[in-house]
Symmetry: C2
Amino acid sequence: MSLKHALLGFINYGPMTGYELKKFFDTSVAHFWNAELSQIYPALKAMESDGLVEMKVEVQDDRPNRKVYSITDSGRCELLEWLAKPADREQPREPILIKVFFGSSLSKRELIAVLRDCADETRAMLSYLEYAHQFVDKFVESLGLRQEGLFWQLTIGCGLKVHKAELEWAEEAIERIEAADDACFENEQHGYDGVIDIRTATEVLDRVKSLMPGALAGPDAYLHPAGDSTKEQLPNQPKTKVAAK
Amino acid sequence: MSLKHALLGFINYGPMTGYELKKFFDTSVAHFWNAELSQIYPALKAMESDGLVEMKVEVQDDRPNRKVYSITDSGRCELLEWLAKPADREQPREPILIKVFFGSSLSKRELIAVLRDCADETRAMLSYLEYAHQFVDKFVESLGLRQEGLFWQLTIGCGLKVHKAELEWAEEAIERIEAADDACFENEQHGYDGVIDIRTATEVLDRVKSLMPGALAGPDAYLHPAGDSTKEQLPNQPKTKVAAK
DNA sequence: AGACTCATGTAATTCGTTACATGATTCC
DNA sequence: GGAATCATGTAACGAATTACATGAGTCT
């Protein structure tokens, strides 16, 4: 669970309330992690009963009381341990690619509209990140936190690089689709039994698979760790199934 | 819900069972969408009662019966409508960036190890995608489906571009961190009250925000749609909050 | 007058993963 | 003999979003 560790990370900067945590999330890690208050409050409660954080109520008369959370030794330990572990990846989910994948069902015009929209959103994201870059500079300067600045800017740099690549792809895709033969589109009006005979397709799938051993066994199959090279196999050396993880 | 529409997309190619759908998922869209059988089966049931697909049982004696789903007119309509709508984006969640963000708590060595691991996984992903590219070529050729090939390869092209960018970033980040001052690391042993005074930080946050109007109002604030330019505002022209979506 | 900020939450629902269950057949 | 393939599912759990609830104070 990354959320709890992200919260721990912020609380490790100094004691905070849930409300403040939400603010920091929105102004710093929003481009790669989001959290709603309705998720933060229960998470803090759970972390408290796990002994990772401690809570103190600050009474206020004009406003609702504040519940200030600070990190415990156990929490700091847990955080450091988690940070040093290799990061696990979330399953990527890109609705835009589903649309492109089944693009043959759309008209050329429609598919291009979808991609243009995607490109626009990506451009908006890039503007945001450029702004965020300057923002962090000013924030870091005002508080005298040059050390943290390096890491914060690295995460923004990642976003910039990746989204630039995405934008380039979308623009290229639009060009390629514009150049494509009209016969590629709106093919839903093929025969009623579908574009593909599934039995045949499944057989071909299996045949191509056996021609390209290891192919599509999942990206993990292509990992050849530097350390233990005992049980790992390269895709060109077929044997049994490649087990990883 | 993209899953149902992805399923519809495949069933639109031709009638299939849940089991076959899982196979097609794993060998074609796995790099941007995953689905478990335990999710596919209930989804198909729901789609059937929604009238998007029809089911016919194919009795088999040696193996369990097959439930073959085919798309209905209503389902095809729903699919086309969904495909033509602008794609919504999933909230990105990148645990690796959380680790980099809080990198000052780690030692230089530890942080670099985490990033190297990330780079390795990205390289594995790239190998997988290059393999997948060839796989699709052979598959498309064997079945005579040049039209679909264009779209399928575009999705792989996206993965290649984006992951290459990610890898480049990781390699650059490692260099930058290696070059960084030692004082940037393991700063958890600062004063007990934390690295930052949260009250001050919050004030600075607000001040920088007011200096950079529109900043960090979220990426949507940077969208200037070509069509209706009435209610949209650019970040340089501060007014009230920018509402979007 | 209306919206936004501060400050806390709960409840319902959706989406997805992991684990469990069954059982014949076929491949190594 | 053990694993994988074919073929169906259910149940429990976890993560995240959306909606609902409260209420004083401040800003425009």
